[in-house]
Structures are given as structure tokens and as C-alpha cells.
Amino acid sequence: TVGAVALDNAGNIAAATSTGGTSNCLSGRIGDSCIIGAGCFANNSSCAVSGTGDGELLITNVIAHSIAFYMELKNCSVQEACDYVIHQRNKDVEGDIGVIALDAMGNFGISYNSQRMLRAWKMNEEIVTVKIYK
């Protein structure tokens, strides 16, 4: 799965996610990448989120929308929202969940509970940061 979140100079944010699915899965199986609110969500008043991991977990726990809604409810940072949804609220789920998120001020939220998440980000003229492991 691949995904992106972005903030433009008009202050608008957007998210996109795309996947080739899961190896050796049943025909017709879909994961979170095409489910708005699970693997992809964006709302200027909170944040843009692109999710990845065990698709079924992101769907049943409505991960992307939970992060955006938690931010609105708690008025917390996007990073706090990502960490709460993945590492507190869903700490007992067995499986991998990872998200990248971005709010309308340019603050990133990056969180995952798996062994790795391939990710990279850039703000204004900073050098790109790229990571695979912690």
C-alpha cells in the first residue's frame, strides 16, 4: 500500500491511498485503502490521514476518521491523536496499523505499531526525511 497527505498554500489538505491488495488473499477481498474513514480521510478542520497495515483492522476500527474526530473532540495535536488511536485505543488489536497524517498548519502525525513503516516527509524548504524502521 502507498499513500500521501498534503497541505497547499491555500491552507487546504488532502489524502490519497492506493494498494495492490494482499498476497494470496481470496478474490474480491478489499482492504482499507478504498474505504473512506478507514484508510483515507481528509477534513480541513482537523487533518488528512492515509492509513496502511492489516486492512480489516483499519476498517473495523475506522482508524482514519477516528484520528480526525479525536483531534476535533480533544483539540489535541495531530501527533497526539495518531498515537492515542493506534497505541492506546487500539493497543489490544492483534495486527499492524500505520498512519501518516497532516493538519492544516503543516504539523505531521506519524505513528505505527508494526516492525516497519516506509515513510518520508517534507515541509517548506526543509530536507526530506525518509525512514523505514523506528
Binding site: A4, C40, T52, G55, G98
Partner: protein, 169 residues
């Protein structure tokens, strides 16, 4: 000057030898996607343009599990999913179980901007792509050696095993 920013991901899950062996290629692909999306923003493009351009670049890169580098299902077929969402209009587009479409994220955006729907799957999505001249590719374009090897390694005999396997995107 207002802030502009972009982040991309290439999937999360268990580590693997393939990932460890290909870290340089993965990082190069991620950096290229960020720079492509960032350039779109720097030129005054919208966040929607930026995420579509960044994801398209990764869809065209066979090392990532999307479009060109898709995983294969138990029948060895490619079934792609994608979605996109515009935070300013709260509008969204999504496709699932799509074949032959070179960039599923572009089809998702087409559905968001040109239909009154959000989510269209399977043969309906493919029909829209064909009728509106979105770029298509033949089946073999989406088949990579790495994914065939992965499928062969993971193949399990009876369907019950398949139903119960962990589903890692």
C-alpha cells in the same frame, strides 16, 4: 509565506528480507514521491494534485504494493483499490477490485470529480476508465517477479487457511 507540506508512506507491516535487501530503492522511491508532490505544491498546485501526483509515482514504481507492483491474490490475479479525499470540500472518490487501470488513484479522483458517487467497484469502475480514456495497461504490466515469488511462498493448500490468514495490506 504559508506553510506547504507533504508526507508519503509505502506500507506498514512485518519486516522482510526483501525490504532489508531493497532499502535503498525503497527510500529512493519515497524521496522521489515526496519531491514530486512537493514540487506540485511549490508551483501553487492544490493539495489534491500533490497527493495524486505523489501516489501516481509510487503506483508506477514496481517496488511498492500498488498498481504496477501489486500483490497477487490466491488466483494469481491483480485486484487494486484506491481512494482520495479533498479536505476543503469534504468530497471523496474510491475504487476497488480494479484491473488494468494504470493509476487507480486517478480513477478514484475522476469518480469524485465527475460523478455524484463516492465509491465504485470492479467492472463498473473499469467501464468508467475505458469510457473516459484513462490510461490502461495489459495484465502482464502489473505482474512482478517479486510478487509471483511471494505468492508461491505463501500458497496454502486449502481455502480455510486462506480465509484465516492475517490480512496485511
Amino acid at each position: 509565506m504559508k506553510n506547504i507540506a507533504i508526507a508519503v508512506h509505502g506500507g506498514a507491516g512485518q519486516d522482510s528480507e526483501f525490504i532489508r535487501m531493497n532499502q535503498i530503492a525503497y527510500k529512493a522511491g519515497l524521496v522521489k514521491a515526496v519531491n514530486t508532490g512537493y514540487e506540485t505544491l511549490k508551483q501553487g498546485g492544490s493539495a489534491l494534485d500533490a497527493v495524486e501526483n505523489a501516489v501516481r509515482l509510487m503506483e508506477d514504481n514496481p517496488i511498492f504494493n500498488s498498481a504496477r507492483g501489486s500483490a497477487l491474490n490466491a488466483k494469481g490475479e491483480v485486484e487494486m483499490d484506491a481512494s482520495i479525499m479533498d479536505g476543503s470540500k469534504h468530497s471523496a472518490g474510491a475504487v476497488s477490485i480494479v484491473r488494468n487501470v494504470k493509476n487507480p488513484v486517478t480513477l478514484a479522483r475522476f469518480i469524485m470529480e465527475n460523478t455524484s458517487h463516492v465509491f465504485i467497484s470492479g467492472y463498473g469502475a473499469l467501464e468508467i476508465a475505458k469510457e473516459n480514456n484513462l490510461e490502461l495497461e495489459v495484465d502482464s504490466y502489473f505482474i512482478t517477479e517479486h510478487r509471483v515469488d511471494e505468492l508461491i511462498k505463501e500458497r496454502m493448500d486449502d481455502t480455510d487457511d486462506i480465509k484465516r490468514k492475517r490480512k496485511n495490506g
